[in-house]
């Protein structure tokens, strides 16, 4: 029995966990900052676009069953393109996951560990990620599936518990900062679906690669629901969120949860779940990056690469001088790189490879 392959459920949990971590730490704030009261409308809109985009990439991925983007690049442009695409994605995963780690560990430092250096908090996550990745049988994906229900329950619990503080009318004016911002500039909010970048490398992991479309679309829909719930929670509770900013808006929303004097300060439970979820996300990123490196170098074992990626991720998480730099990287640079690499270059490679395949078939005939 091949234990290294994962089923559809594990794959969905994996892809949604990636999106969830970005939503918790950064996306909620960024989406509301841009689209204000039209955030929910914008999420529905970008959700539909994300589903269409996912359907397109799955259509092309299905032309190359069991191939990931590195394999397809190899097929299209040989070793050169394979190395270029492989290294670009490794850099993308490591750099922005490292940046997110910086943001999350800074938040943890402020909230719970004021006298601990951010360096150690980041190190803690890196070590846990490396440990999860070196476990055999791709244990990281299974552990993600275990944590996933807690993520779902905690998010729903947060939404339902805060309902008493909601003011639904905060979704007006319905078009927020205007039609242009909501439907044109607002497309950039699509980078909330970070799972899309990982979909390109998922087919070889699946027990049934043909199910990639089902897995990908389900994960995008779930990510969209998570995004709607989290943004709605922040939007409906806080009045002037458009004018003020908070480090971790969902943490501020969690602080509102109280059930009389018996259940107070539930934020610790949420932070614990978010820590577990973030450790899973880092583990997944390390695993994906080391797998790409293994493919590029044709090594049999990826253990050495897990350590290399872990160290690189750690470096990527500690170089930022302050939170402003990491916010700029997460909100501005990340957005552009996502659209160029994940939406643009990757789709171009898939289309070109499919075209090449058709031409080759025609020539063979």
């Amino acid at each position: 029995m091949d234990n290294t392959k994962i089923g559809s459920k594990e794959a969905i949990a994996l892809l949604v966990t990636i999106a969830f971590n970005h939503i918790i730490i950064n996306m909620t704030k960024d989406i509301i900052d841009l689209t204000a009261s039209a955030s929910l409308l914008n999420i529905l809109y970008i959700g539909i676009i994300a589903i269409i985009f996912t359907s397109i990439i799955c259509y092309f991925l299905n032309k190359f069953p069991t191939f990931d983007l590195v394999d397809i690049s190899n097929y299209l442009g040989g070793k050169f393109l394979k190395w270029v695409i492989g290294l670009l994605f490794i850099a993308y995963f490591i750099f922005f996951a490292g940046n997110l780690l910086h943001m999350f560990s800074t938040c943890l430092q402020i909230i719970y560990f004021p006298y601990t250096k951010q360096f150690y908090i980041a190190l803690f996550f890196i070590i846990s990620g490396i440990c999860a990745c070196i476990m055999r049988h791709n244990a990281i994906y299974r552990s993600t599936l275990i944590i996933f229900p807690f993520i779902v329950i905690s998010t729903l619990f947060l939404f339902l518990s805060d309902i008493q503080f909601f003011n639904i009318e905060k979704m007006y004016p319905i078009f927020g900062n205007g039609l242009y911002t909501t439907f044109f500039t607002g497309i950039t909010n699509m980078f909330a679906f970070q799972g899309l970048a990982y979909i390109f490398f998922t087919p070889p992991l699946l027990k049934e690669p043909a199910k990639i479309k089902k897995v990908a679309i389900t994960s995008v829909i779930l990510s969209c629901i998570f995004l709607l719930i989290c943004v709605a929670t922040v939007l409906f509770i806080f009045n002037g969120f458009v004018d003020t900013d908070e480090l971790l808006p969902l943490f501020s929303a969690v602080k509102y949860i109280e059930f009389g004097s018996f259940f107070q300060k539930l934020d610790s439970i949420f932070v614990l779940i978010w820590i577990l979820s973030f450790a899973s996300y880092l583990g997944i990123t390390i695993k994906f990056s080391s797998s790409i490196l293994r493919k590029l170098t044709n090594f049999q074992d990826d253990s050495i690469f897990i350590f290399v990626v872990g160290i690189l991720l750690f470096i990527a998480s500690i170089w930022q001088k302050n939170y402003v730099i990491s916010t700029f990287l997460a909100n501005t640079v990340h957005k552009y790189v996502f659209f160029i690499l994940v939406i643009g270059i990757s789709l171009l490679i898939l289309i070109s490879a499919t075209f090449k395949k058709k031409i080759m078939r025609w020539f063979n005939k």
């Binding site: 560990f113 006298y115 039609l179 009045n239 004018d243």
Partner: protein
């Protein structure tokens, strides 16, 4: 060396690193190093920008049999002057030798004098602190915050923290206060269209007389000092004596000057007295972050009814059956208040439809409360009374204060498609000229247990 041994060594090294790295944070949050503030008062300082007063309690050590530990009976009140809340807290940390923690703070009290200059900096700073809970109540005291905390002695509860928790309960059935938290205040402060409120607190009649006495005593000692210093000018010392006599007379008159009618009643004016030296009645209205004015008990009821934040309350109306007598009714909202706003020629026309049921509480002799005409008479009088009170309240918040404390803007904003359009409309300016139409669906249902006298 085997692979297992290397793994164990690495594990031990990592463990030591993390124990070392995280122990400082753990130690700082250890309960033995912390002192929890229950209530924090902020006044205008004499020598610095602010004077902060922190109410703490002694953590009782374990008692013989039960081994329970808990808060002591007598809260400790400490204060200092500083340029900001946190530099003040830091000074108090040095004074008490522990780290003051706001995680269990139940109430922030600002003095009226301080709030007149604006409290946004303090509110943002407090919200910025991870320890502060958004559910912490916010009180604006008509007296000094220090005096308010000094006189906050629980009547019924053994624990001071429990006493502060009652703030959020009483508003649902008295209607005399609203459960305003620092989270609410911060939210409204961040909004450009809405204005904030705070619970209005003050000293009760006994504490007021006590305060007046002590101030008159201090005046006496001051005047005797003045006498010593200026023995030559006898005329001036006589005038000082006169002023001290005046203040003692004033203290004896405090009780008499207490307000009875809820239409005029605010904190620091009622006749309530007892061990608890403070009272919370009414609301403090803020414009942006500055104190703008007060709402009386009845106005607070109107505010709560509009915002669906009231379970029941008692109102006193002129008795329609026995003239010159008063009749008390217990009000219950039967449905949620409906608010609709139409904008006609740039003027908001705000329609408020309230659904209220009431029970007659005060009965008179030889009256049949089962007769529809009697109930109709009471209904009509109560409706007129309430309509008048609502008109006065809405006039006060819109025309006098120009503060939308009832979130009317949330109903108006739906008429606009985009935020720039809404901003151009300038709600704050338009709210001043808003036309209100209060429609009461009022029904007196019964007279509780006795239906005929």
């Amino acid at each position: 060396m085997s692979k297992n041994s290397i793994s164990i060594i690495i594990f031990i090294i990592i463990l030591i690193i993390f124990i070392n790295a995280f122990s400082a944070s753990y130690t700082s949050r250890n309960i033995s190093n912390l002192a929890y503030i229950f209530a924090l008062g902020i006044d205008k300082g004499e020598n610095a920008k602010i004077k902060i007063s922190a109410q703490l309690s002694k953590i009782a050590t374990s008692t013989g049999g039960g081994g329970s530990s808990g808060e002591g009976n007598n809260p400790i009140l400490i204060s200092c002057e500083a340029n900001s809340i946190f530099s003040g807290i830091n000074l108090l940390n040095t004074y008490i030798g522990k780290e003051l923690n706001l995680a269990h703070c139940s109430v922030f009290v600002f003095s009226k004098e301080f709030a007149q200059d604006g409290i946004s900096s303090e509110i943002y700073s407090l919200i910025n602190n991870e320890e502060v809970r958004p559910s912490t109540n916010l009180v604006l005291s008509t007296c000094d915050a220090y005096d308010y905390l000094k006189n906050s002695n629980p009547n019924l509860e053994r624990l001071t923290t429990k006493y502060y928790e009652t703030f959020s309960i009483t508003d649902r059935f008295t209607g005399y206060i609203s459960n305003i938290t620092i989270g609410n205040f911060y939210n409204t402060l961040a909004s450009k269209d809405e204005e904030a409120t705070a619970i209005l607190g003050g000293l009760n009649s006994a504490a007021r007389s006590e305060n007046s006495k002590s101030s008159s005593n201090s005046n006496k000692s001051d005047s005797s000092d003045t006498e010593k210093l200026s023995s030559e000018s006898s005329g001036s010392s006589n005038s000082s004596n006169n002023s001290s006599n005046e203040s003692s007379n004033q203290s004896s008159q405090e009780q008499e000057s207490s307000i009875i009618n809820p239409e005029d009643l605010t904190a620091g004016t009622s006749s309530a007295s007892g061990k608890r030296g403070t009272e919370n009645i009414g609301l403090a209205v803020f414009e942006n972050d500055k104190f703008r004015g007060e709402l009386t008990a009845t106005e607070t009821i109107c505010h709560l009814l509009i915002n669906n934040d009231l379970d029941s309350c008692i109102i006193s109306i002129g008795n329609p059956i026995v003239e010159s007598e008063k009749m008390e009714l217990q009000l219950f909202p039967s449905k949620k208040t409906k608010i609709t706003i139409n904008i006609i020629d740039g003027i908001p026309h705000i329609s408020i439809k309230l659904y209220l049921n009431a029970d007659v509480m005060t009965l008179e002799q030889d009256i049949d409360y089962e007769i529809p005409e009697t109930l109709e008479k009471i209904s009509s009088t109560a409706k007129d009374y309430l309509k008048n009170e609502f008109d006065k309240y809405l006039n006060k918040v819109s025309k006098e204060y120009n503060c939308d404390i009832d979130e009317f803007y949330t109903k108006a904003i739906g008429h606009f498609a985009t935020i720039p359009e809404w901003k151009n409309f300038n709600w704050k300016e338009k709210f001043k000229n808003a036309v209100f139409n209060v429609d009461l669906d009022f029904n007196v249902t019964s007279s509780l247990l006795v239906t005929k006298t």
